[in-house]
Each structure stands twice: as structure tokens, then as C-alpha cells.
């Protein structure tokens, strides 16, 4: 029973303490707003933001933009994973291919996907395709690099065990190579999904006619700082939710070893 009580207090604590911080921040925001230090058009009040939130919900625009952005991230990120992981597998196993491609992959990995925006618009116009292309670029190269490194670092003893027990060919890929790198793949997917979520906002600000990034730009142009804050809050919360979602993958029993050793 004693254990249960401490668990309850811990659960209560982990809910209450962050809440206190959030309430304090909102209070601070209200105080700054009330002091008049900022011009009315430069800082909205929490009340105005709440009203804006209701307005956005009623019009349905916020939900539409949210779905649009999530769709683009899913496509771009999914494509990057679907192509990047097999490519990384191949590069990880072929030393000469690695030597040939590593410098160029590193180059693109370090080139901000935002620098591609002008070309994205020229090639794909304004809309889904441009945004998906940019998100793809943000995730593709990191996924290749991480998969490649993970494959190259698999202890050779696993392959020798596989040989001893007659695990060869395709079976070796699915029963040894993939499970051996899965923990690192999941970590990489978490990091790059976050990256994609950052990039989609920037991409839509410039190369979009809808989506959360476009909404931010639109609110700015309309001088609606209240809606701007609403959108910022939603963008941040969705980013956190995406990571929470991907964290669930690390709870799969057969990958726990990668995080507990």
C-alpha cells in the first residue's frame, strides 16, 4: 500500500508541477501585457488568444491547416524513411559504395533544406509537392547516414552466429541485420521526425497556400497576433505529440536491449 501511495504522489507531482510552471508563465505574460510595455498590436492578451482559438475552431481553418501539415510531414518523412533505410542498409554493407557516396551525402546532410525552397517552388510550384519535397530532404540524408552507421557497426559475431545456425541470404537481413539496428533506427526516426516538423512550418510559410506555416504567415500579414499565438501553441503541442507517439516504438520488447545496455 505504501508503494501505491508514493506512486500516486509521483503521478500527482508529475502532473501538478508542470501545471504550476505553465500557470506561472501565463500569469507573467498577463502581467507584461497589462503593464503596457508592449504596444497592443505587438502582444495579444491571453484572453484574446483564447477567443482567437474559439474563432479558429469554429471556422475549421485550424483543423484543416493541421491536417494539411500532418499529411505533408507523413508523406515526406515516410518517403525519406522508405528510401533512406534501404539505401543506408546497402551503403552500410558495401565499403566501396560508402567511400564513394559518404562525402556527397554528408554535403547534403549539412545543407539546410530551406536553401532548397526557391528550387522547390520552381520545380513543384506552391503547394503539397514543394512542402513534401522539402520535408523529404530534411529527413532523407540523416536517415541514410544513421542507418549506414548502424549497419557498419553491427558486431561481426552476430553474422558468424547466423552462419553457424544456417541463417543466410534474405533471412539474414530480416532476422539479424534489421533487428540489430532497429533501436538506432527508432532513435533516428524520432530525431528526424522532429526535424521534419520544424521544416514543414518554414516550407509552408514560403511555399504554401495552406498548412500551419502558411497560417502563421497569414496571421502576421493580417496583424492577428492572437491567432499567431494560437498557431504557435498548436505547432509546439503537435511536435511534442509526434515525439510521444514515436517514443512508443522504444517500448517494443525486442528493442529494449538497445536502450538499456
Amino acid at each position: 500500500m505504501a508503494v501505491e501511495t508514493t506512486e500516486n504522489t509521483n503521478a500527482a507531482k508529475s502532473f501538478l508541477l508542470p501545471l504550476v510552471v505553465v500557470v506561472a508563465l501565463v500569469a507573467l505574460w498577463t502581467a507584461v501585457w497589462a503593464s503596457g510595455a508592449f504596444h497592443e498590436s505587438a502582444l495579444p492578451s491571453p484572453i484574446a488568444v483564447m477567443r482567437g482559438f474559439g474563432e479558429e475552431l469554429k471556422s475549421g481553418r485550424l483543423i484543416n491547416d493541421l491536417i494539411t501539415s500532418l499529411f505533408r510531414v507523413s508523406c515526406g518523412f515516410g518517403l525519406a524513411a522508405a528510401l533512406g533505410i534501404p539505401l543506408g542498409l546497402w551503403l552500410g554493407q558495401k565499403l566501396s559504395a560508402r567511400i564513394a557516396f559518404l562525402p556527397i551525402i554528408n554535403f547534403f546532410r549539412n545543407l539546410s533544406p530551406l536553401a532548397w525552397i526557391p528550387f522547390a517552388i520552381l520545380w513543384f510550384g506552391v503547394g503539397d509537392a514543394s512542402a513534401i519535397f522539402l520535408i523529404f530532404l530534411s529527413a532523407f540524408f540523416p536517415v541514410i547516414l544513421a542507418t549506414m552507421a548502424a549497419v557498419a557497426n553491427i558486431p561481426t559475431v552476430y553474422f558468424r552466429v547466423a552462419q553457424n545456425y544456417g541463417i543466410n541470404g534474405l533471412e539474414r537481413l530480416t532476422q539479424v541485420t534489421l533487428p540489430a539496428i532497429l533501436p538506432q533506427i527508432i532513435t533516428t526516426l524520432r530525431v528526424t521526425a522532429g526535424l521534419s516538423w520544424l521544416v514543414v512550418v518554414a516550407a509552408e510559410m514560403i511555399a504554401g497556400r495552406d498548412g500551419l506555416g502558411f497560417a502563421v504567415m497569414d496571421s502576421r500579414n493580417g496583424l492577428r497576433t492572437d491567432l499567431l499565438v494560437v498557431e504557435m501553441i498548436v505547432i509546439g503541442l503537435i511536435g511534442v505529440a509526434l515525439d510521444r507517439l514515436l517514443v512508443q516504438l522504444t517500448k517494443i520488447q525486442s528493442v529494449r536491449w538497445g536502450y538499456e545496455r
Binding site: 552466429v161 552462419q163 553457424n164 540489430a180 532497429l182 529494449r256 538499456e260
Partner: protein
């Protein structure tokens, strides 16, 4: 099948300019347990890699008859599989799931890890992991077992216990075994024949047969005498009575 599952004839292996093994000739009979002892870095793992077929000799011949399994110096269990799934790797030839499960259970009992079948390797102690490795290697129908210092990472008592366990497992499921170790006690307690390698380039320096049935006590007179012989051969122990007599003589002179 021939009666010699493993035969090495004047096998040498060099890595570039480094000569590791020089003209090793050795044949192991069916069901025989041979221990190879030698100092760290003398080429024991290299020798096992050659026996397993994973590595090729620079010169000489190796004949192998039967399916080989190796138990590795480092962790060779697949960390993404449970204990039962790891053991079942050794039973992949069985088509019937039921039969696989039955034999896995039997092996779990044999290594005294009932109740741990759904644990993952990282949830086990080093000694438990070594036992699972042994069970996996002994599962099914392999013929030749190559053991690369399988107990070297364990504490002394666990090592003693696992030696007994290995002897017992082999009693139930006989195999042809080559054990490589730097632990002379381990070799003397387990092997039918102990082969002592010299420093690099390793050559066979000394060979000794021990004709007592396994499992044996560490303090069995034959085991103690074998340890003494090997240590004397290595110049580490001396014949104390004779040595004592000599020094007495020196004193009285």
C-alpha cells in the same frame, strides 16, 4: 563419416608479417574433448576460427566432418531474441513448432533456467547468458562444438559451477569439443586431452591425456597431477621436494 571429425595438418596462419600459428597438426576423435591452452594473444581464437571454417590457413590442411557451432568469447546471444528464441535457433531444422517448444523447454531445464524463457539476454547475469549460449550450441544436431574461452568473463565460483554444468550437458548429449582457454585448471578438469601452445608463433609445445570420466572434481588426484604437469612444463611450478632437497644440500655444503 570418418572417426576424425576435425583434422589439422601442418596448419599455419600469418596476418601480414605477423606469424601467429606455425605448423599445427592435430586431430580430434569423435566425441573427444580437447582443450587448447596458451597465453593470451598466442593465437587460440585464430586457431578456432580456422577450425570453424570462418578463416582460411596460410598453409596446411584442415578437414572438417560435421556441423560446427562456436560459442564466442564475447556475447554471441542475439539481444533482440528471448532466451527461448535464442535456444530455438539451434532447433531451426525442426519443422514442427510443438517439437521445437518441447526441446527448448528440455534445454531450459537442463541449464536450470526454467522461468526465464521470456527474458532477454540483457536481463540476465553473465553466468546465465553463458548457460544459454551453451544450451543454444547444444540444441539440435550439431557435431562439433568450438568453445572460445566461454567462462573467462565469469567469477571463479560461477566458472567452477559452469564447468560442472558443461560436463553434465556433454554427458547427456555427447559432442566433439575443442575448448580454447588460458585457464589450465579448466582444461585439466574438462578435457580428455590438453594441448599446450607456446608463445607466438604458436606451436604445440606439450600434450597430455587425462583418462578419468567426466564430470570430475577439481581436486581429483588425476586433475591435480595434470595441472602440476602442465605448470611444470611451462616452468611455473617446480618439483618442490627435489628443489627442497637441493637447497638443503646447498645449505649443508
Amino acid at each position: 563419416m570418418s572417426s576424425k571429425p576435425l583434422q589439422l595438418e601442418k596448419v599455419s596462419r600469418s596476418f601480414g608479417p605477423v606469424e601467429v600459428l606455425r605448423e599445427i597438426s592435430l586431430s580430434i576423435a569423435r566425441g573427444e574433448f580437447v582443450a587448447v591452452v596458451g597465453p593470451s594473444g598466442c593465437g587460440k581464437t585464430t586457431l578456432l576460427n580456422l577450425m570453424s571454417g570462418f578463416d582460411q590457413p596460410s598453409s596446411g590442411l584442415i578437414a572438417r566432418d560435421g556441423q560446427v557451432r562456436m560459442v564466442y568469447q564475447q556475447d554471441g546471444l542475439f539481444p533482440w531474441l528471448t532466451v527461448a528464441e535464442n535456444i530455438a535457433l539451434g532447433l531451426r531444422h525442426l519443422k514442427k513448432q510443438q517439437e521445437q517448444a518441447r526441446q527448448t523447454d528440455e534445454l531450459l531445464r537442463l541449464i536450470r533456467l526454467e522461468g526465464f524463457e521470456s527474458h532477454y539476454p540483457h536481463q540476465l547475469s553473465g553466468g546465465m547468458r553463458q548457460r544459454v549460449e551453451l544450451a543454444r550450441a547444444l540444441a539440435g544436431q550439431s557435431d562439433i562444438l568450438l568453445l572460445d574461452e566461454p567462462f573467462s568473463a565469469l567469477d571463479y565460483l560461477t566458472r567452477l559451477r559452469l564447468r560442472q554444468e558443461l560436463a553434465r550437458l556433454l554427458d547427456e548429449r555427447p559432442r566433439t569439443v575443442a575448448l580454447v582457454t588460458h585457464d589450465i585448471e579448466e582444461a585439466a578438469q574438462l578435457a580428455d586431452r590438453v594441448i599446450v601452445l607456446s608463445e607466438r608463433p604458436a606451436q604445440i609445445r606439450y600434450e597430455l591425456s587425462i583418462a578419468v570420466k567426466r564430470p570430475r572434481d577439481l581436486t581429483h588426484p588425476e586433475v591435480v597431477s595434470a595441472i602440476h604437469c602442465i605448470l611444470t612444463e611451462l616452468g611455473i611450478e617446480h618439483d618442490h621436494e627435489r628443489a627442497a632437497g637441493k637447497s638443503l644440500a646447498a645449505l649443508t655444503e
